[in-house]
Amino acid sequence: MTQLRERIARWIGDCSEELREALEWQFLTGSKYFRPLTIFSCYRAVQEGPIPDQIMQSALVIELFHNVSLIIDDIVDRSPTRRGRATMHTKFGELSALMTSGYIVAEGYLQLKDDLTGVALFSELLKRLGVAECLQWRLRRQPLGVEDWRKIAGEDTGSMFEVCACLGDRSGRLRTFGGLLGLLYHGCDDVGDVKGLAALGGGGEEDLRDGILTLPAALAIRDPAVTKIFCDPEGGDLAELGRHLVATLPEAEAYLDRIAEEGRTEARSFAINSAPLVALIERTRQLSRY
């Protein structure tokens, strides 16, 4: 990860001076580098030896594209903060944030150079993320089920981690594992947001406000009374909806445990060395347990 941080810092140093302050703000603090970790773990699951330059470069580019999605998400969600700091559009303005995200995408493809497999995978990622966001937005406040949540989350965070797995193993062998890891990540994030609602009086309000189908919401709206509030939040009590979501947490955690087990099965079936992948599953699973 130290090498990755150095690559990112060098890349920022080579970028346009006009955008450098915004890029430093976005990239140089607070990231968990979970997606690069997934790439490295998937590489280690099928190969031995040091991480080659092409894989390191893939890790750099996934961080670039991931941050593009964060910048756009924060604008769409009207989030004033991320990781305890002002979001890019809050600090530098929406125009600057939008233009910087386009710049980052162009730079990402430049960094891939002649890695045609990488180019195809990143193109797939951007397309699927765009479709997933539109789908999720179109389906908000609809009385859908857990299987619908699974499909949406699979195209959103699932696609991100599928691509990470493919960038790491370079054969597609671990693609399904990546999808399950992303699904688990998305679900743990959903559950963590609801726990934030319960414990800290914050977090996840945007999802409630916008009627986004999270895992706790998909479980809660099996109750027709909750469905009414979910589908028409202006006519109902959002705080009451929040309480219903909190009540689903044990069932949501059990569902996440089952996804984690699916991921472990996939890792053991298709990885040459499943240990790094199982460790990733465990680390992801902890995200909702705080």
Binding site: G145, R150, R173, T176, R222, D223, P224, E262, S269, F270
Partner: protein, 169 residues
């Protein structure tokens, strides 16, 4: 329908237990037949020429055939066991789905949505199981294929004729 004779079980729900039993029996049958291919020497003896001398090229071909059969049988066992496990874990869901009787009001629609969601989960798991077993089968046969190709690679070949590629693992 369940509501017509409250004393009798719904016909479809009585089939679940036997269905799961059939899947388990298929797995047992496949496991029993796997033993035939786990002993390649039994097969090769039948093809030995008189005098007990083995013919290496024939054995080189017969052994992978036996191994392929073991691989296919193993996956078959795994698939049938997986099916049994899935249907067992969804037994309550299936019973509820088959036992849902139409009632008036919003609850009917909500119950049907929940039942449909659970049925979709069952269908997804069945598809995932089949896909996963097929992928494992493909990987194992691919490794066997690679071994066979390496065995029969002619050592005198060189340059561009020499086989350099490897099967994806």
């Amino acid at each position: 329908m369940a509501g017509d004779n409250p004393g009798a079980p719904f016909p479809a729900t009585t089939l679940l237990g036997p269905m799961i039993g059939v899947f388990g029996a298929m797995a047992d049958w496949a496991a029993a037949h796997r033993q035939r291919f786990d002993q390649p020497s039994a097969g090769s003896d039948a093809h030995s020429p008189p005098g007990g001398q083995h013919n290496p090229p024939v054995a080189d071909l017969l052994l992978p055939v036996g191994q392929a059969m073991v691989i296919a049988t193993n996956r078959s066992v795994s698939y049938w066991l997986g099916l049994a496990h899935i249907f067992e874990s969804h037994q309550i869901t299936l019973a509820q789905v088959m036992g849902v009787a139409p009632i008036d009001g919003d609850a009917a629609g909500s119950e049907r949505l929940v039942a449909a969601d659970r049925l979709r989960a069952l269908l997804r798991e069945l598809g995932d199981l089949a896909t996963r077993e097929a992928r494992i089968l493909q990987n194992e046969l691919s490794a066997l294929d690679e071994g066979l190709a390496q065995t029969f690679q002619q050592p005198e070949l060189s340059g561009s004729y020499r086989r350099r590629w490897r099967a994806k693992t």
